[in-house]
């Protein structure tokens, strides 16, 4: 079995990265050839006792050479920095129409959940040519979400959220690897990213077992865990109304503002006394330890679903409870076992 020399290129970022990589490789090869070539030529030509000319160097040569190659390396390195940095800056901003996928990592598996509630373990189905945004958190130690074919890697931290995005350009099945050492079965923390044509993706999605979407789960949790007791309109407790606050500035005690984004909501749930909304008493207890990361994500999705325009809030009530356990998913995907057969693409469409 002869290996390939370059990994598969299956995302927009992969193209950019490869371009820089190849450019750097060529530059390095030239420099390396220059250095090794000079060493060989000098060593042989000026080997001990050879008849080569050894007149002393003119004094000026040494200084000008030093300055010359110092300047040349500085120029080269600054150029590479500029090239790499501009590629990186372009990759910072997530396209607004990106599909959002939540990823929760734990020893030693990946749990992913699309915004419509489709849950997977160690697998991730995405459509081709659509930007996908990953919102990730870990339940235990630091992991790292790595898809070599996408040149995508981002650490997944406990009790913090990290984000990354990609846009796949090829259909197929690609490795999902954990690259931050996370304990015994670190090497077994493998998964697959399955990139599908949009139609196939849509049909795969519809074939998924009926699951709560995140916002509905969040709505249920909102009342089950007692959030609604205070935050619902008409509650006896004086607590801020959460409808329409998503991504809008919130006026805090002490005169500053915060944006009601995922991080803010998470902080408000776990450390409610830290940023108190102006005009309210710091009476909310912390939910640290009472809500896990997945549940916080669900509640965040619910608050998000309440919109970013001030609207009248829906009547709180227990929504219909549906099963959210996807049937038939094996605990670990076959990709975990080295050498296991990889599902065909067409099979992947409806295998579940």
């Amino acid at each position: 079995m002869v290996g390939r020399l370059m990994p598969e290129t299956a995302s927009l970022q992969a193209l950019l990265t490869d371009r820089i990589f190849i450019g750097l490789t060529i530059a390095s090869a030239v420099i390396l050839a220059l250095v090794i070539g000079l060493i060989l030529v000098f060593s042989i030509r000026f080997r001990r006792g050879s008849k080569a000319n050894r007149h002393p160097l003119p004094e000026i040569v040494s200084r000008e050479f030093e300055i010359g190659w110092t300047a040349a390396t500085i120029f080269l390195f600054v150029f590479v920095f500029w090239w790499a940095a501009s590629a990186e800056i372009g990759a910072y901003s997530v396209p607004p129409d990106a599909i959002e996928i939540h990823v929760v990592a734990k020893q030693w598996m990946w749990k992913t959940q699309a915004s419509n509630g489709a849950r997977e373990i160690n697998e991730l189905h995405v459509p081709v040519n659509k930007p996908v945004k990953l919102i990730m958190t870990s339940q235990d130690v630091i992991h790292s979400f790595f898809v070599p074919a996408f040149r995508l890697k981002r650490d997944v931290l406990p009790d913090q959220q990290t984000e990354a995005w990609f846009q796949a350009t090829k259909t197929g099945t690609f490795h999902l690897l954990c690259t931050e050492y996370c304990g015994t079965d670190h090497a077994r923390m493998l998964g697959r990213v399955i990139v599908m044509e949009p139609e196939a993706y849509a049909s795969w999605l519809s074939a998924q077992p009926e699951g709560d979407d995140l916002a509905h789960q969040g709505e249920r949790l909102f009342s089950e865990r007692g959030c609604a007791g205070c935050h619902a309109p008409g509650s006896a407790v004086h607590a801020p109304n959460l409808a329409g606050i998503w991504e809008r500035p919130v006026h805090l005690e002490g005169g500053h503002f915060a944006t009601a984004d995922a991080a803010y909501i998470r902080d408000s749930i776990l450390q409610p006394k830290r940023d108190v909304v102006a005009g309210y008493a710091p009476v909310m207890p912390s939910y640290a330890g009472l809500l896990d990361d997945g549940e916080i994500q669900a509640i965040t999705a619910y608050i998000r679903a309440l919109g970013s325009e001030p609207v009248s809030v829906r009547e709180p009530g227990t929504p219909q409870v549906r099963s959210n356990v996807p049937g038939g998913v094996r605990e670990r995907s076959p990709a975990m076992v080295p050498g296991a057969p990889v599902l065909d693409e067409n099979e992947a469409g409806g295998s579940r």
Partner: protein, 563 residues
Amino acid sequence: MSTTASPTGLADPDELDLRLPVSYLADGHSVRSWLLTTDHKRIAILYAVTITLFFFIGGAAATLVRLELATPEADLLRADTYNKLFTLHGVVMVWFFLIPSIPNTLGNFLVPLMIGARDVAFPKLNLISWYLNVGGGSLAVAALLLGGVDTGWTFYVPYSTVFSNTWVSLTVLGVFTTGFSSIATGVNFIATIHLLRAPGMTWFRLPLFVWAMYTTSLMFVLATPVLAVTLLLVFAERTFGLPIFDPARGGDPILFQHLFWFYSHPAVYIMVLPAMGVVSELITCFARRKVFGYSFMVYALVAIAVIGFFTWGHHMFTSGMSPYAALVFSFLSFVVAVPSAIKVFNWTGTLYRGQVGFESPMLYALGFVGLFTLGGLTGLFLASIPVDVHVQDTYFVVAHFHYIMVGASVSAYFGGLHFWWPKITGRTYPETWARFAAILMFFGFNLTFFPQFIAGYLGMPRRYHAYPPEFQIWNVLSSAGAAVLAVAYLMPLGYLTWSLLFGERATNNPWDASGLEWRTTSPPPRQNFFGSPRIQGGPYNYHPEGVAPVHDQPRLPSRGSLT
């Protein structure tokens, strides 16, 4: 170095040390005379013995790791065993072999000799430093015997503080202890080089090896305490439950990484700066030329030592660090590559119009330049954020840092060991064997680590005991190379031991080298010199200023008549 002194001051380079005062080796034969010595040369030997031991412990772990990786399945070792082995390999090799390797053996032996001093500034502190190193190493080995550690040498939180149930605390304590050994060595060298230079030994007459030890010592003193604190925090969190980094209570694991890499990135320079110093000595001696651009070489060393402190963030581009900070760190990482490039060009330039010989130390030195260049160039890949994001924590990184820390530093260590072996032991070694080992090491090394660049770019993560099968070809190549490399590392152990017992007596200056350390007997007496050296010229006086080096020139200055 041209020197003059009282007529008895300098030993005749060709004279054996038969009738001269007793050498430092013969100055007492009891165990006590070794374990309680304050002689910098004996302490260097003590270090050499312990780091050799640690080198083979770490090497054994690496061998098992490479054996396991020959196949994609986990068939030799269990996951936990593998994790403990690579951790052991990392911890032992970094802190108990590489960091003390050149500074504490060659550095301890040579710095006072090269500057014309009797000893280091604080001889007792020097001995304490060895005991701290051995104490720390014993704790780490004890942790190994008790069951091992599985956190990786990086001890990332919260895995190391909350989740690992192996002997983390003991290991951390061992590394913490050896950190103070580094600090003691650093303080000692800095004070020695500042205060004990012989008359006439100005800063710009210092051999580059001494400059390298000086800059390394700066890093010892300024970086190591941060590691000590970081590990202390891990220790406190594990042992006493003081939650400094605990994310569940609002702590920040990324902060740990900042502190860790504030030490551990400069630590790479702690390993490679001494190697640069050694190689500068070797190349000048075997090219019979003054070093090309001495002052630029000095500035480059200082620049690396200072800028090296600004670049640690490139280990953290994927960690969730702020993207703005990442850009700053990326830029600074490119900047630190400039002085390294200057050094490579200057070594190459030194060969030009020289009288190049290919004795074994020179083979190691030339190998160093090639491996260091490749290692340094791949560093540029890691400084470019998009590429780094892809190769971070893959075998690309593993290959890169092995090129620098093993390819370059260990080559230089072996080169220096061979070069100064006659001075240290007073014996010669079999040159043919030595050349063969040097060449074997170079090819074995490249065979081991070059395939890892490819595996890494293909996406093989590090710290995997089982891996997807498409990476197997590269791992098989790498494991085959490791076997060659193991043989190449064992060979010097064999023939150098032979040389100790049966080697011919060495002359005082077998290489016709110009440094002050060659102006005393081999091995030197306890007092280092007979009389007091006075320095009247710059280093690397292999040919008079403005005159081309000729084949048999070097004999002249070494007699001390040419000034």
